[in-house]
Amino acid sequence: MKKVEAIIRKSKFSAVKTALHEVGVNFFSYWDVTGLGNEKEGHVYRGVSYSTSDIQRRYLSIVVNDDFEEVTIKAILEAASTGEVGDGKIFVSKIDDVYRIRTGEKGGNTLK
């Protein structure tokens, strides 16, 4: 089992969600994060220009069986891309075990 974590633009969330559903990834968690990166956002307030490197993004955490790893990553890579600096990152890591709390069962079946 793998954990696929992705930091994406909020504006791309809807497209990524649809793409994940299309390849059969229906369960995942997400939350809003603030981070620092290469991108700078320019602003003007009452005649004073300022730029902020505090960037708002959405963080997705998806745990899948090994055979879903590739399609999941592909779906995010395609749906979340704009080609501009700031599109985000994907991290992949191993998951040792998964339990379903309701029944106590264990293993890859719980992710289906």
Binding site: K10, S11, D32, H43, Y45, R46, G47, Y50
Partner: protein, 410 residues
């Protein structure tokens, strides 16, 4: 009798509209400041309107309208004392435009405005206790004494060419503005406003609320200026509303244009400040101007706002909501404009307007400096660094403005 009834109804409507302006001020101030200081600002605004009204009943009204007096300071006694007829009923010959009670309440609504202007300028860093003491002294004593010089029949009214301030560009707005300037100088800037000599932006947390505040203030101004006719005179009240609205519109457009040209950015907050600048500017002569004059005065006020905001920043003075630019600078401009535009325009009038501006500058700067400087030396007027960074809401009031939800930036 019927005429008095009509006049009085209009004056009571205007009283209600001026009351509503306090909501406008509250919205504008919290909108242009940070979320962590919202409760503090609302507390100050509510304090000012409640305590201000009580003080105006206790001493203010009779300090401002003492009857016959030496022209500088008079007092007709504590509390309200309505004039009665021989039969003991309310004496309706008090004025053709309103009853004694309406007179008190209309003027009382004005009184609180001056301190509210200061509240915005000192936002996010002033201790609440000293602010309350300042507000009590300023609304209770200074505002009515200063007001008596002109509206109470004092020395500015008895000049050879009387000083003219129709609804308070100077008497209300500059009186608040001068104190705001003094307070900002004594307080210092917010942490983070100037870094290594460079001006930093500290964006407000709720621009929709600030916008609502400005539109509410504009609505309130129908009463502020419309009621200052002091009767329902059909010609004068309608002209006043037209000049008021045209100046507001012209002020907004001019500020938006100038700031767009200067900063290459469509800045809504400048647009909003421009509207207020136009309103403050027309207030001194709203009943004396033609529509063209009003548009001129408003547009100049709007342009002034943009430069004044930049100048105040440049002087390393920190005025989070632009109160000094709007109320002081445009208040002075509007007052002087009476000598340049409209029915009263003349050299002699301009000199009288100048005398008025200087007189009010003197009383306001001296009195607010004495009050604030004394408190600064004795108890301190600024919150601790920790308190300022974490927010006045939690430290001064033990509350959050929005405890249950977090606002997303996008």
């Amino acid at each position: 009798m019927e005429l008095l009834t009509i006049n009085n109804v209009w004056m009571m409507i205007c009283t209600a509209l001026v009351f509503f302006m306090h909501l406008g001020f509250a919205f504008l101030e919290i909108g242009l400041t940070r979320q962590k200081n919202t409760i503090n600002i609302l507390f100050k605004n509510i304090f000012i309107i409640t305590v201000g009204l009580l003080l105006y009943c206790l001493v203010g009204f009779n300090l401002m309208y003492p009857g016959e007096f030496n022209g500088f300071l008079g007092f007709a006694g504590f509390g309200l004392d309505s004039p009665l007829t021989a039969e003991g009923a309310l004496d309706l010959t008090y004025s053709e435009g309103y009853t004694y009670w309406t007179d008190f309440l209309f003027q009382g609504m004005f009184a609180a405005t001056a301190a509210t202007i200061v509240s915005g300028a000192v936002a996010e860093r002033m201790k609440i206790g000293p602010f309350m003491i300042f507000a009590i002294l300023y609304v209770g004593l200074i505002y009515p004494i200063a007001g008596s010089w002109k509206w109470g029949g004092g020395f500015l009214q008895t000049l050879e060419t009387p000083f003219y301030d129709f609804a308070g560009s100077t008497l209300v707005h500059s009186v608040g503005g001068w104190a705001a300037l003094v307070a900002v100088c004594l307080l210092g800037s917010r942490i983070g406003k100037f870094k290594d000599g460079k001006i930093q932006a500290i964006p407000g947390h709720n621009i929709p609320l600030a916008t609502a505040g400005v539109l509410i203030l504009w609505l309130g101004w129908f009463g502020f200026n419309g009621g200052s006719v002091l009767s329902a005179d059909p010609g004068l009240t309608s002209l006043t509303l037209v000049t008021t609205c045209l100046a507001a519109a012209a002020g907004g457009v001019a500020a938006a244009l100038v700031s767009t040209l200067l900063y290459k950015n469509l800045d809504l907050t400048m647009f909003l400040n421009g509207i207020l600048g136009g309103l403050v500017g027309i207030t001194a002569g709203a009943d004396q101007m033609s529509p063209t004059d009003a548009i001129m005065i408003g547009s100049i006020a709007g342009a002034i706002i943009v430069f004044a905001v930049a100048l105040i920043d440049r002087l390393k003075l920190d005025d989070p909501v632009g109160a000094i630019a709007v109320h002081l600078v445009c208040g002075i401009w509007g007052t002087l404009a009476v000598g340049l535009f409209g029915e009263l325009a003349s050299g002699a009038q301009f000199v009288s307007q100048l005398i008025g501006v200087v007189s009010y500058a003197a009383i306001c700067i001296v009195s607010s400096f004495l009050i604030l400087f004394t408190m600064k030396k004795i108890v301190g007027i600024r919150v601790s660094e920790k308190e300022e960074l974490e927010g006045l809401d939690v430290h001064e009031h033990g509350m959050d403005a929005y405890p249950d939800f977090r606002m997303n930036e996008h």
